[in-house]
């Protein structure tokens, strides 16, 4: 229908001699929700970090919302303004309050006046259901609350795309749900997102497409019904039998 908002063509990446990403082809439509899974070390994080250039690829083409990622700092910063990222370890700025974490980029990157940035940030903090924690420092929040602040912080730049790298893996079980609920809501609002996760229930519920990676390759990519119901690849079947056994 429309042009893809993210396009990767024959992307390769090496860490020194180690070939992490091999011939990745991936195209994501606006509004599409993609879940990426695969064994540890298969290159999932590396793949999504290439999309906002936290990692550089060495071969192939990556185009994000019409901008090709190259050495050009201008393009990189333009892409980063369109792409929000949420990390496994939250990575909130510990010297700033939740609210200040959220307003930092709008004020300094977008040049919003402080008041406007704070009002917008409060709306997002309400959306992740922690407006009452706005003036606390990250060290005073639980893991689940921190991750929700991190989501709000990413949303404050009005990104077109959200990247999640195992957003619930560092959380205690009772906090996973509160974070997943927020992400599900976001997915339902039509945000384009790529999410690395092992939460298969979440994948079934929200994904348009599930991608399985192994040893730097995309082994299988299919809508959840087919991915979980009738996986084609032997490696996928093996992986699923392990993950779903728990």
């Amino acid at each position: 229908m429309s042009a893809p908002i993210i396009e990767l063509r024959q992307v390769h990446k090496w860490f020194a001699r180690f070939h992490v990403l091999r011939a990745i082809d991936l195209s994501v439509k606006a509004g599409e929700r993609i879940v990426i899974c695969g064994p540890s070390g298969s290159g999932k994080s590396t793949l999504i970090r290439c999309i906002n250039r936290l990692e550089t690829h060495q071969k192939g083409t990556i185009i994000v919302d019409g901008i090709e990622l190259t050495e050009r700092t201008r393009d990189i910063e333009a892409v980063r303004r369109k792409v929000g990222m949420v990390f496994q370890q939250f990575n909130l700025f510990p010297h700033l309050t939740a609210l200040q974490n959220c307003t930092l980029a709008p004020i300094w990157v977008q040049g919003l006046p402080k008041r406007a940035a704070e009002e917008a940030a409060m709306r997002y903090l309400e959306r992740v259901r922690i407006p009452e924690q706005a003036h606390k420092y990250p060290g005073q929040l639980s893991g689940g609350q921190q991750q929700r602040v991190a989501i709000a912080r990413a949303l404050c730049l009005n990104p077109k795309i959200m990247l999640f790298d195992e957003p619930t893996s560092a959380l205690d079980p009772e906090m996973i749900k509160e974070v997943l609920d927020v992400i599900v809501e976001l997915a339902e609002s039509g945000m384009t997102m790529l999410c690395v996760t092992h939460e298969m229930g979440f994948a079934r519920r929200v994904a348009d497409r599930v991608i399985f990676m192994d040893e730097g390759e995309i082994v299988e990519a299919a809508p959840p019904e087919r991915f979980f119901g009738a996986p084609e690849n032997e490696r996928t079947r093996q992986f699923l039998s392990q993950v779903l056994a728990h």
Partner: protein, 363 residues
């Protein structure tokens, strides 16, 4: 088992100074002996010190009074007689209200700046303005003030000027050097590493010597740069090299996730450093940084070798007077006390900074 105490929770320890002493000082027989022995030695020392410093000291009078005391007591008459010279050096006697006012203004400004509510960009600007004003006040030549050449500046104002400007300007330079040393650009990295290693490899004395003796040789004929300025630049450049390594330590301690989160927000290099990384890194290295500041404060005394008379130089000159030559110790004790007041203020205030800022808990 519980011996009659509340069943949950440890038995309460007896309180009070006597209980404390019994627990820590007299808990075994050999500890008791050590405690008594140490107390005896401390008492002896205190008695001698109080005797020399206070009881038998000569407070007023000429040097004859001090000589008459035959070293039984300290000669504080020296300070009464020479304090203006020690504090203000060779600054013209009738004009010494100017350095006195400068020191007073400086101390007042420090007092105000410790008030966190006033912290802002305006305060930084205020400090620059203050120092320009202080320099003007000392230098004169305007507003009807008699001009006083910088060659004559000395004592406490000189110490403060050299060290505070040295500290204040070496910190930003150090931050740049530390960032440069971690830069991904090879040329910048090489320059930073080269500078830091070179300067750390030579003593401050030799840098001051170079600044005062060798540097003018490179200048075209007729061009001279003020000796005080040269010493000041030498101190800044020297202390920046040490501070840079301290700052680098802080930068290295910040987890890579912080850099990545700032990158992902599109902050760009300078904003990332200024808003995210440096505030955390600098707070982390407050203790070694203050260490460095204190060292700089004391190192300014070395300017004596190029003929500038800071506090220490002034006391040395003051006690060169044949009448008072026997009482240099008292002079040195006096300036040591002044140094101590300044340095201990720095270390106490820095401890408050470490605890206070950052993860302040809302009330």
């Amino acid at each position: 088992m519980t011996r009659g105490h509340a069943p949950n929770g440890p038995p309460p320890l007896p309180r009070g100074p006597i209980a404390w002493a019994r627990r820590h000082l007299f808990n075994t027989w050999y500890n008791a002996i050590l405690t008594l022995g140490a107390l005896y030695l401390i008492a002896l020392g205190l008695k001698a010190a109080i005797g020399w410093i206070i009881v038998d000291a000569v407070w007023l009078g000429g040097s004859e009074a001090c000589h008459a005391a035959k070293g039984e007591g300290a000669c504080w008459a020296l300070i009464a007689e020479k304090h203006r010279f020690i504090l203000f050096g060779t600054y013209p006697y009738e004009e010494q209200w100017r350095p006195a006012l400068a020191v007073a203004l400086f101390v007042a400004a420090v007092g105000l700046s410790t008030w966190r509510r006033l912290w802002s960009r305006a305060l930084v600007v205020g400090w620059f303005v203050l120092f320009a004003a202080l320099a003007l006040l000392l230098h004169g030549g305007v507003f009807g003030l008699t001009p006083v050449s910088t060659e004559l500046w000395g004592g406490l104002p000189l110490t403060i000027l050299l060290s505070v400007i040295g500290i204040g300007l070496s910190l930003p330079l150090a931050v740049l050097l530390a960032l440069g040393r971690r830069s991904s650009m090879p040329l910048i990295r090489a320059i930073s590493v080269g500078y830091i290693e070179l300067v750390r490899g030579v003593p401050l004395i030799s840098i001051l010597f170079m600044a005062s003796v060798m540097f003018p040789l490179f200048l075209p004929e007729g061009v001279t740069i003020n000796k005080l300025l040269r010493a000041q630049v030498g101190i800044i450049l020297f202390s920046a090299a040490y501070l840079a390594e301290v700052v680098r330590g802080g930068l290295q301690a910040i987890p890579s996730g912080q850099y990545e989160a700032a990158d992902a927000l599109g902050l760009g290099y300078w904003r990332k450093m200024r808003l995210v990384i440096l505030p955390q890194a600098l707070r982390l290295v407050i203790p070694p940084m203050v260490n460095s500041f204190i060292a700089t404060f004391k190192d300014t005394s070395l300017v004596i070798i190029i003929g500038l008379y800071d506090l220490l130089g002034a006391v040395r000159t003051a006690t060169n007077d044949p009448l008072w030559r026997a009482f240099t110790t008292e002079g040195y004790i006096f300036v040591a006390a002044i140094f101590f007041v300044f340095c201990s203020f720095m270390s106490r205030y820095s401890r408050r900074l470490e605890q206070g800022a950052g993860e302040r808990r809302p009330q």
